[in-house]
Symmetry: C2
């Protein structure tokens, strides 16, 4: 499937409402527990998504359009969101994610990108040359990788409770490919 | 984390709205494509969840309460939902899932299960003796295993579009533990 900007925007538009419907006011045993050690809870993941809205996707898209390959993207600070989320409630984070996403999609639509714009190139600090098309497709796939992670982290909390059914539940066999 | 019936109901209550927010009116390239061969699309997964509401969770719970270990659960027909979904739109399936889930949770709440009821035992055709507690915890974890699957199936559609970022997206490394 080729990248289709309208399809990307359709998905990006829905993620905040989907996470809101799943997570808001859910007991904290689901949303604040992680998979052990330094792994992330659902709360931490929403903080990470907010951080991406602020520092990753649209700032990088602007850089591609303004500077092309001459300027390298800033590295993404994976632990930034954990510090920024301290003292906030999950409801506050969900509101903030929805607001930032709506602002960013408003800005993206206003760019009126043409097919030739999507082929413009930027420079990633580790991956090298990438296109604007790849960056925007990754924004959508990144939502899905974290929905996949949240499902897994939450299911982990019931690993013992399901008894022998654990053998049948695919999510409990998933070793966690999502980083971190 | 021990099984907590209120926590289970909290999660079961939210799944239909979360899937609705994610999937309704999304372009069919996201919702009707699968991972190849006989794998399932997001549309197929919603059909499977409907089938579970009709034939699996509450019928089995009733059987545990009425017959205990003396009667074995009926096997779950994994291909039933694919036939039942034919000719329907995804919107119709989402509506049907929400309606059936609400009815089933109404029935579950009306049972006013006490802790000792949750320890009652039934017989699974392959797993042997299981408790009502395990059955109800599995109902919730089963929602999560399919949310995990839907995220993966949808991300798969952008496997090429994300270019070199595929190495960083955990969901694209997931081989698919969910069955089928």
């Amino acid at each position: 499937m080729e990248h289709n900007l309208e399809h990307t925007i359709s998905l990006l538009t829905r993620t905040p409402a989907a996470l809101d419907a799943l997570l808001r006011d859910l007991p904290e045993t689901w949303t604040f527990r992680n998979e052990g050690e330094k792994s992330w809870s659902a709360f931490d993941v929403v903080g990470h998504l907010i951080h991406g809205e602020r520092t990753d996707w649209m700032p990088r898209a602007r850089m591609v359009l303004q500077s092309g390959e001459t300027q390298t993207f800033e590295s993404f600070d994976r632990w930034g969101p954990v510090r920024e989320s301290e003292g906030k409630s999950l409801g506050q984070l969900l509101d903030e994610f929805a607001r930032l996403r709506a602002e960013n999609l408003g800005e993206l639509r206003a760019l009126n990108l043409r097919p030739e714009d999507l082929e413009r190139r930027g420079r990633h600090p580790a991956l090298g040359v990438v296109t604007l098309s790849e960056l925007l497709a990754t924004w959508a796939a990144h939502d899905l990788t974290h929905l996949h992670q949240i499902s897994r982290v939450m299911a982990h909390q019931y690993r013992e409770a399901v008894g022998p059914w654990s053998a049948y539940l695919g999510v409990l066999q998933c070793a966690g490919h999502s980083s971190p």
